[in-house]
Subunit: 220 residues, 2 copies
């Protein structure tokens, strides 16, 4: 059994706390193949329900495809803007929420619900477990990238069915995340949305409950 030492734990936490959602800081430098493979392999070693490994990774490097994806973002982002009101809308308009063209590559992480047949161990009562496993792979990828000093941004303001069309992904395969990845000029000290005052960090004490939802007293 591999013991993690205090020093290794601290290195792990350094990676975790310095991970950021990257939008404006991408440099065009390409990612060496060996490093990209390490990051993808880390994603592939995420936990998955029934060991079904439902994920695939579509690497987007073609400029024309990126431009189409950027257009899809702009369409959905224009629709989103109108949903906010007043000061919030004004602030929303100032935010850069993606780095699709700037990042050297994009990665679409998908979920194949049919990967290991119709009945999946652990997905019998909770049908969304396969998508959740895919998100575990995304988070592994994101942290592994940070450990390689690579920035990652999750662009969620895209109609996923457009990704199926642009990248010829079969209709039954569910895109879960469009990720921009690349080297960056810098990592921000705090999340951008916290820094610009969009929302504050919630004190963790407010989020911990003991045995009952209404019990927030430490009895452990």
């Amino acid at each position: 059994m591999e013991i993690i030492t205090d020093k290794e734990r601290d290195a792990f936490y350094k990676v975790l706390y310095n991970r950021r959602d990257t939008r404006s800081e991408f440099e065009s430098t390409s990612i060496p193949e060996e490093i990209l493979k390490r990051v993808l392999n880390a994603a592939h070693h995420a936990p998955s329900v029934g060991f079904m490994q439902p994920w695939d990774f579509v690497i987007v490097q073609d400029k024309k495809k990126k431009e189409k994806i950027k257009q899809a973002f702009e369409k959905s982002n224009n629709e989103a803007t109108s949903l906010f009101e007043g000061d919030k809308q004004a602030l929303y308009k100032t935010l850069k929420l993606e780095g699709i063209l700037e990042a050297p590559i994009g990665i679409v992480v998908t979920c194949d619900k049919s990967r290991s047949g119709p009945v999946v161990l652990g997905r019998t009562v909770n049908k969304e477990m396969d998508a959740y496993s895919t998100v575990c792979a995304v988070q592994n990828l994101w942290l592994a990238a940070r450990s390689e000093n690579l920035g990652v941004g999750w662009v969620s303001i895209i109609d996923h069915s457009v990704l199926n069309k642009i990248l010829n992904i079969p209709e039954n395969i569910l895109p879960v995340a469009y990720l921009c990845i690349g080297y960056v000029s810098h990592f921000h000290e705090r999340p951008q949305l916290e820094k610009v005052g969009w929302l504050p960090r919630i004190p963790i004490e407010e989020l911990i409950h003991y045995d009952e939802w209404d019990n927030k007293d430490l009895t452990i």
Copy 2:
């Protein structure tokens, strides 16, 4: 900007590759409060859509509540068993899929879709982004636990609405994961489901595509 050194990256990967889904190996030793807080704080520093931080953590330590949760597992697991056929059903019956009573505590990680109001930055076109953010918190928690030499098992064979009832979680709060967490006798070298031959590890080459779903040639 914090640079991650090669040595720190290697420590990070050591944690990532030694993480396991723990079911049979729990010891009853309690987790020191300080360590549990570090693990929860790591979860709280996951990425979240629009910085909404939709998660809460319900720590389950009461024996009677654990017993009720175990009963809910057994009900759903009996239903699941009948869905498998022949050899697969025989193998399924031999698997231990949870450590609800053995682990010193359980943690329910929930998602509050209303946390920051009806319109959430980044959730406008993809409505499931809040649940996905919560899963990122689960994966952060899982890896942080491993860095503290704690095992975690995600028990997905539970009807989540039963957790709402047992722990008095309001109906509008969505349980995303029931996690068992504790010190362990050992971590397995490989995932248990791989070891017993339930499913093999998929070669990663089969999962990487370039610009088009059908293009698996390396052109990067």
